[in-house]
């Protein structure tokens, strides 16, 4: 598919396979997905793939979601990647914002809520004056990741 290269890459980090699948099902075929089941895998994959967007659960094995978020923000190539924190820990919202989350979605969520958040963040990224990051690096990373 010619549009495949243009599809943004989304990194989905959740230890729960059914929730990763839910995110994929909700967001559909318009994106390329990379998946990680723990925090360490999420960081490795993020550096490999340089995704256009990260959907991050906070309660991850090995390295917690908050730690993943903080390390992403310290990584110069990944600092600007939009991150949607999605968690059942509603009380973790404050620390998620502090660590640099762009959106906070609590489980359970409405499919439209997630779709709206993803589209908004990716539109902003596309519309901004940083096309190399979201466009070039993203598609290149997606190719490597898959």
């Amino acid at each position: 598919m010619s549009s495949a290269a243009a599809r943004p890459t989304i990194l989905v980090c959740d230890d729960e396979p059914s929730l990763r699948e839910l995110v994929r099902a909700v967001l559909g075929e318009d994106y390329v997905y990379a998946e990680a089941a723990d925090g360490r895998a999420a960081l490795t994959l993020a550096r490999d793939v340089e995704p256009d967007l990260v959907v991050l659960d906070l309660m991850l094995p090995i390295v917690s979601g908050i730690d993943v978020l903080e390390q992403l923000r310290r990584d110069e190539r990944l600092a600007e990647v939009p991150v949607i924190v999605i968690t059942a820990w509603s009380h973790a919202e404050a620390s998620a914002w502090t660590a640099g989350a762009d959106r906070f979605v609590s489980k359970p969520f409405e499919p439209d809520e997630l779709i709206a958040a993803v589209e908004e963040l990716l539109d902003r990224g596309v519309g901004s004056t940083e096309p190399p990051k979201s466009g070039g690096a993203g598609s290149a990373g997606a190719g490597a990741g898959l």
Binding site: L19, A25, I62, A88, E110
Partner: protein
């Protein structure tokens, strides 16, 4: 002996001592009074003696003058003395008879005077009338002189005796009263000292323990609940301190009980908030899948294959919710003592086989090994509950192991028990958390490291195993993995064992791969 009785006894002894001292003083006084009386008596006796002696001298003088002169007038002193004589004699003898010896002497003197009057004076007077010359002759006058001299000598001896007696009486009275005075004085001094001493001792015996109790009560009131008084001390004091200690004990017990209850309340409060957190998370995760996929299925048209797949996920997550609910209910049942167990013969080998099969299917990424002996591992109990325990242990072993990790499940017998072990090569349990691992809602590092679970599995498992009369335990090392084991009383009938052995062994071999 009680303090009151001691005090009573001491008071009685003191009273006796005071009474003794008083008696001694009384004795001294009465002795002195007796001595005075004796002295007065002695003076009376002496006076009576001297008066009587004067009469005798008067009589002799009158008689002498009369015999020499023949003049009747010269006889006058004799006549006067003679008139007075009977009364004086009675007084003399009467007084002298207070002392028996003196009485006898006085009687003799009285007899001699009577002899003198009747046997000499009266005949001489008659002789003067008849023959004045004969009366004047030497023998006659000498006889009168001899008799009066003898009487006067008796008087002298009598007086000397009297003086001696009076002196002796005075001296013995003096020494006796001195002794009595000394005894009395010593008694008074001793009882004064003893009364003071008694007061001091009483003050100490009562005052000191009372102060100790007061200060003890203050310390107790100040929160020093472990403070106790020494319990020695007589009677009421010992009783007082014992009562105080009993009270302190009671206060401390009550306080400790409250403290314990408080701690329990705090703990249950903490557990409750933990439960709410865990429940909200544990329920939300499957709920998120269920709601998310049903929303999607309602909103979009998927092809039948995808729809089936998503419905399968919804089904699995809904079952997970149901199982979670069941765990909570189990905890509730156990807490209410309502956990009901079937009592049937259960072959643990079959249970292990089934569970191994189940978890192999659920977690294909782990290597699950099963090792069983070739004979039934029969126990009595509830097969569903025992399967739940084995399932919990397997689920934990898988959950805390990396993908591809080995989980080894084994069954066997020994020492009249069926033993099951589940070994993993996972994270292991830190030694400071090992003692709490069976506490409900306790999850160690699992919460922080993002491993899901309610912290109920092991708590429920232990209750089930113990309700079967068994034991559950583990050994673990951080980074090297854990081995959980359980032991249940072996119920295999020896007679049936040999016949069943081969059969069940082969059966198991078929299901094992």
């Amino acid at each position: 002996m009680s303090l009151a009785r001691r005090m009573l006894l001491a008071s009685i002894l003191l009273a006796l001592l005071v009474a003794g001292a008083f008696a001694a003083l009384m004795f001294a006084v009465s002795t002195l009074r007796d001595a005075n009386e004796r002295e007065a008596h002695s003076k009376d006796v002496t006076a009576a003696t001297l008066q009587l002696e004067k009469l005798v001298v008067d009589m002799e003088t009158g008689l002498r003058g009369f015999t020499l002169t023949g003049n009747k007038g010269a006889l006058q002193p004799y006549t006067a003395a003679r008139g007075e004589l009977p009364q004086r004699l009675r007084v003399f003898v009467g007084r002298a008879f207070a002392e028996p010896d003196q009485g006898r002497r006085a009687a003799l003197i009285s007899q001699m005077i009577g002899q003198y009057v009747r046997g000499y004076a009266i005949p001489v007077i008659e002789l003067v009338h008849e023959s004045p010359a004969a009366a004047r002759s030497a023998p006659v006058t000498l006889e009168g002189k001899r008799q009066t001299d003898e009487i006067r000598a008796r008087f002298d001896r009598f007086l000397a005796e009297e003086n001696e007696l009076a002196r002796e009486a005075a001296s013995s009275a003096g020494s006796r009263s001195d002794q009595a005075l000394a005894v009395g004085a010593v008694g008074v001094v001793a009882s004064s000292v003893l009364i003071v001493l008694f007061g001091v001792l009483l003050g100490r015996a009562v005052g000191r323990p009372v102060r100790a109790v007061a200060s003890g009560a203050n310390r107790l009131a100040g929160g020093e609940l472990s403070h106790r008084l020494p319990t020695e001390g007589p009677g009421e004091i010992g009783e007082l301190t014992r009562s105080f200690n009993a009270m302190a004990e009671e206060v401390q017990r009550g306080h400790d009980e409250l403290e314990l209850r408080n701690a329990k309340l705090r703990e249950s409060e903490r557990l409750k908030s933990e439960l709410i957190t865990i429940v909200s998370h544990e329920l939300r995760t499957p709920l998120a899948s269920v709601l998310g996929f049903t929303s999607l299925l309602l909103q979009r048209d998927f092809d039948p294959q995808a729809r089936r797949h998503y419905l399968g996920i919804v089904d699995a997550q809904a079952r997970r919710l149901a199982a979670l609910l069941e765990d909570f209910l189990d905890v509730q049942r156990i807490e209410d003592g309502r956990l009901e167990l079937a009592q049937e013969a259960v072959d643990i080998a079959l249970v292990l086989d089934e569970q191994a099969e189940l978890y192999r299917a659920q977690s294909p990424k782990h290597r699950l090994l099963l090792e069983l002996p070739e004979r039934p591992l029969t126990v009595r109990g509830d097969s569903n509950r025992l399967a739940q325990v084995v399932g919990n242990l397997l689920s934990n072993a898988i959950k805390y192991s990396p993908e591809g990790g080995v989980v080894a499940l084994a069954g066997g017998t020994g020492d009249g028990a069926v033993r099951v072990s589940v070994r993993d090569e996972g994270l292991g349990i830190a030694s400071d958390q090992q003692s709490r691992i069976f506490t409900k809602f306790f999850r160690g590092e699992a919460g922080a490291s993002g491993i899901g679970g309610t912290g109920l599995g092991l708590a429920v498992s232990r209750e089930i195993v113990e309700a079967h009369g068994g034991r559950i335990g583990f050994s673990s090392k951080v980074g090297a993995g854990s081995t959980f084991w359980l032991e249940l009383p072996f119920a295999g009938a020896p007679a049936v064992k040999s016949s069943e052995q081969g059969r069940s062994g082969t059966e198991r071999k078929e299901t094992q791969p």
